[in-house]
């Protein structure tokens, strides 16, 4: 190699951001550490106050996993959308719409044949879920509607159509196969959790290992660069919103299965939890960063806090405060992470 004085690196050497390696590690790993701390905290509390174990109780683990599954499913699709610099506010009601449509279809067909009814219900739910994504994606990528506004509109539309198809109430289904799908276990793991794990693995692979994932990051990092690099940004954006609402549809299916009923308001409380999970997991709402593993950890943190605080019987109102603090702190950490890793470019 030639002496480095004749190279560009000579000037680049002093642009190394000033940061402590241990601190940088803490920044990157904090959601994991925080989850471990939370679990340790509840474990100690359970042992001290009720001389029982929090973690070694399979019922607790199962309940937390079930609790986390639905907001996590919404968060998985949301992760893709947020990495690309968008947001999908419609997922909660798309989930409810899918749940109601599935229940309606099954209500009609179950007397004919339970298995056929389940198959038809799943297909109907998927179809009902994917259409809003198609519309969201078209509005945003083709017609230039801002994601926030476009998906907020869909939030209202899906809500209305959901309540209309449910006739304003819940739609019960009495189908033994559906009950098994929602409440059965395989090797002790609830089926809804298994389904969620499969979706997580698929999403993790897609985002981290494929061109599709790479383009998602590129669009969030620099949309112009992505366009100039020949990436079909419009089509990709359309796909992202379809993925998001497909995830919501799966969440709706699992909801209907778990409760043997579809309800239009099923996902309403989950929207904010799903966005919180993505943000706690390290994604920036400005796009460009985020991972599936982070979102999983984020969803688990929210579930563990809410479940654990009920378990140790903390006053309900404090639970809002706890989740709120975790979200604020995670955003603050994200901000300082950007500062510390040299958001601004120093010239040599």
């Amino acid at each position: 190699m030639p002496p480095s004085t004749s190279t560009i690196a000579a000037t680049g050497a002093d642009t190394e951001p000033r940061r402590h390696p241990a601190l940088a590690f803490l920044m990157a790993a904090w959601p994991w550490l925080f989850l471990v701390l939370l679990l340790a905290f509840f474990e100690l509390w359970a042992r001290a106050a009720f001389s029982t174990s929090f973690l070694l109780n399979p019922y607790n683990l199962k309940s937390i996993a079930l609790f986390a599954a639905l907001p996590l499913l919404l968060g998985l699709g949301q992760t893709f959308v947020i990495i690309a610099g968008g947001i999908d506010l419609s997922v909660g009601f798309v989930m409810g719409l899918a749940a109601v449509v599935m229940a309606r279809a099954m209500q009609v067909l179950t007397p004919v044949d339970p298995a056929l009814a389940l198959a038809a219900g799943l297909i109907a739910a998927f179809a009902a879920g994917i259409v809003p994504g198609l519309i969201n994606g078209t509005l945003i990528s083709r017609l230039g509607v801002p994601a926030f506004i476009g998906t907020l509109g869909m939030y209202g539309v899906a809500r209305g159509v959901g309540f209309l198809s449910a006739g304003g109430t819940t739609v019960p289904v009495n189908n033994p196969l559906l009950f098994v799908m929602g409440n059965g276990t395989v090797l002790g793991i609830p089926i809804p959790v298994l389904v969620t794990v499969l979706v997580v693995l698929g999403m993790h692979w897609t985002l981290g290992q494929t061109r599709f994932g790479q383009y998602t990051y590129a669009i969030g990092g620099n949309r112009t660069a992505a366009i100039r690099a020949g990436i079909n940004v419009r089509r990709h954006t359309l796909y992202l919103y379809m993925i998001s609402s497909a995830c919501a549809a799966v969440a709706g299916m699992l909801y209907t299965a778990r409760f043997s009923a579809g309800a239009a308001q099923a996902g309403e409380p989950l929207l904010l939890d799903s966005i919180a999970a993505v943000v706690i997991g390290g994604a920036s709402l400005f796009g460009g960063s985020g991972t599936i593993a982070g979102t999983v950890i984020g969803a688990l943190i929210i579930a563990v806090i809410q479940y654990g605080l009920v378990f140790i019987n903390v006053e309900p109102f404090w639970q809002f405060v706890a989740v709120g603090i975790v979200i604020i702190v995670s955003v603050l950490i994200d901000q300082s992470r950007h500062r510390l890793t040299g958001e601004k470019k120093e010239e040599g």
């Binding site: 560009i8 680049g12 690099a229 470019k345 040599g348």
Partner: protein, 248 residues
């Protein structure tokens, strides 16, 4: 003399009633550096965009490697080896060097013969190689970090490296030194000289006369869409170039 890599013959481009380019002709050989000078609105950008496929000429002809071409879009131009580096570099700040070099053209393998998977090792290796051939030394550790952690000059180098990796034969650069400090400007000029030695043809737009006189083999001056003159640096002076730019 060898065949010029690029020949523009009486190229005109109009937007509505505005003549952005009016019968501009020039040629460019491999290993040659052509500086494009001119005031704002003189047609510099229109000219490079017409060559790189963003615009299509209304009249006249572009010959590439002696063959008439008409690029429908930048992608078509890129496939023939015409790479353009815009002022904003078009790097995705959140991706690392290899990912930027391969952006939009990532190599994929099959995992277990089934699942598509990015060939990250190949991307990293290739990024390292191309930076090495250009004699750009970015610490190995930084190759795997987002390019936002690199200096302005290093980022410029990544953008150029990307073009070279994709076998650019004609490299178009829009104000490559504008955003840089003085030492880094010098580095980029050195880089242009190296590319020239590797037989790459280069067109660059610059406002900086120092740059122009340091690296250009020829200077093409545009004024209001018309070719105001073409000079060799050793035959002219800064004053003359400025006069050509402003007219009179």
């Amino acid at each position: 003399m060898a065949q010029p890599i690029l020949r523009c013959v009486e190229v005109s481009k109009r937007f509505g009633g505005v003549h952005a380019l009016e019968r501009v002709s020039f040629e460019l050989h491999r290993g040659e550096v052509l500086a494009l000078a001119g005031d704002n609105g003189a047609g510099k950008s229109t000219l490079i965009k017409t060559i790189s496929g963003v615009h299509q000429p209304d009249e006249g002809e572009i010959l590439y490697d002696g063959e008439p071409v008409r690029f429908a879009n930048p992608r078509a131009a890129r496939e023939r080896g015409i790479e353009t580096i815009y002022q904003d570099l078009a790097l995705a700040d959140n991706l690392d060097v290899g990912e930027n070099v391969f952006l939009g053209r990532e190599p994929e393998t099959r995992f277990l013969g089934l699942l598509p998977r990015l060939d990250r090792a190949a991307m990293r290796r290739a990024a390292h190689e191309v930076l090495e051939t250009l004699d750009i030394d970015i610490p190995a550790r930084k190759l795997n970090q987002p390019v936002r952690n690199l200096s302005g000059g290093q980022r410029q180098a990544v953008a150029i490296g990307r073009a070279i990796y994709w076998k650019a034969e004609l490299l178009i650069m829009d104000e490559p030194t504008a955003a840089l400090g003085v030492p880094e400007q010098r580095k980029v000029r050195e880089l242009i000289q190296r590319l020239k030695r590797q037989n790459v043809a280069i067109i660059f737009i610059s406002h900086n006369l120092q740059d122009i006189f340091a690296v250009a083999d020829r200077i093409l001056v545009l004024r209001r869409g018309i070719k105001a003159g073409e000079r060799r640096p050793h035959e002219t002076s800064g004053d003359e170039i400025v006069k050509l730019m402003v007219g009179g």
